[in-house]
Symmetry: C2
Subunit: 230 residues, 2 copies
């Protein structure tokens, strides 16, 4: 758009605060590093060796995603630890408030948490460069884990209505905490907040509402796939 | 050796109880699945994000080894869970008796435990088929983790003699528990015991003593590399 009326020759407008990318990747990296630990702990809670192995495999796959994001931060000249640091407190607080008491709660947390995280980062990358967008969207594609979780949960609740009720409540709690955490994470970084709620190329306040509306709708559809009421 | 005096034409002697291979791989698989969980928990104890990421990476790499052994069991027509089951109690008991209280204890445990496990399985595979031997030896090659651990531990104890003393004691305890566990693991399976202590092609009792002597010597050399007295 070199002929856009408000562009000045030789001075392309910055589409977004460049630090937004390192903040976005830093938040994502720590979400994955801590998600790895949560899933690994969930594997320890499993009553069967098969489930233990499967959940450990999910944890290992989340670790690979963390390693990919770390590598990208390094390639961009950032120190992964420095990029993650601002988000540690908010993400740790989320995990502290949502410690699973058994392996099924751990699975539901992984399913709900990963779904919301994917939707949240997919919204954020709408406003950054195409390379970063492509990288994040490819990274967060589901690699069959959601299917394993939904099959396992459906099987476990099939004969136990009370369990289904308890897990539906648990999923609602995770959803509430995760949305609150997503806002805290965005709030830790002016650049991220701007991506979501304003700035020349960021989303405006009405769009902000629509974003969380879309995330909530997607959550409801995922709950139906689990066989749980949202 | 077709002209060996005690061979009977058309009746090659079975070199070992064939179930020894599935027992060996089953014990190894569960050692890795539980080692994954231990390392992942150790990552959670790390005070720095860099160490947390590095230890999580070791856990993910141990998971990949578990997945490789599982895959091999499946290819041999075995169910990995059934092959692991006899060894769960002994290995879980080892971990319960050696729960690390901080990240450095977790690192020392990984270092000592992996070293002893590697030596132990390397001795066991002396008596099984070449394919299994090659598979296990390649799998247990060190992938640079020992170096990360020894550098980290040397750095941490450089200015703190008391810490060095505490970690040396801890390493001795792990060594004692691991040797005891190795005997319990072998004891869970007649086929494995035979590989170690007797049977036509297994090690005899004197060899058994030499095996544990070699494992202890290798442990002493590893402790020196950590800068700890054995």
């Amino acid at each position: 758009m070199t002929d856009a009326p408000d562009s000045v020759a030789g001075m392309e407008p910055t589409p977004y605060d460049p630090s937004a990318v390192s903040h976005l990747l830093g938040a994502l990296a720590y979400a994955q590093l801590s998600g790895f630990g949560e899933l690994a702990a969930g594997a320890q809670l499993s009553p069967h060796l098969a489930a233990k192995g499967a959940i450990a495999g999910m944890a290992a796959s989340v670790y690979r995603q963390f390693a990919a994001v770390s590598g990208r931060l390094t390639a961009l000249g950032e120190t992964p630890e420095a990029a993650m640091a601002p988000f540690v407190e908010a993400i740790d607080a989320f995990h502290a408030r949502t410690a699973p008491s058994d392996w099924l709660e751990a699975l539901i947390k992984a399913y709900v948490g990963h779904g919301i995280a994917r939707d949240f980062y997919a919204e954020l990358v709408n406003y950054v460069d195409g390379d970063t967008r492509e990288f994040v969207l490819t990274l967060l594609e589901d690699s069959g884990q959601a299917r394993f979780i939904s099959e396992t949960v459906r099987e476990e609740i099939a004969d136990d209505k009370r369990l289904g009720g308890r897990l539906a409540l648990w999923a609602r709690r995770i959803m509430g905490e995760a949305l609150q955490q997503a806002q805290l994470v965005a709030g830790e970084s002016d650049a991220l907040t701007e991506l979501l709620v304003g700035g020349e190329h960021g989303a405006d306040l009405a769009e902000f509402g629509r974003i969380f509306g879309r995330i909530a709708d997607a959550h409801t559809r995922r709950m139906e796939r689990l066989g749980l009421s949202a």
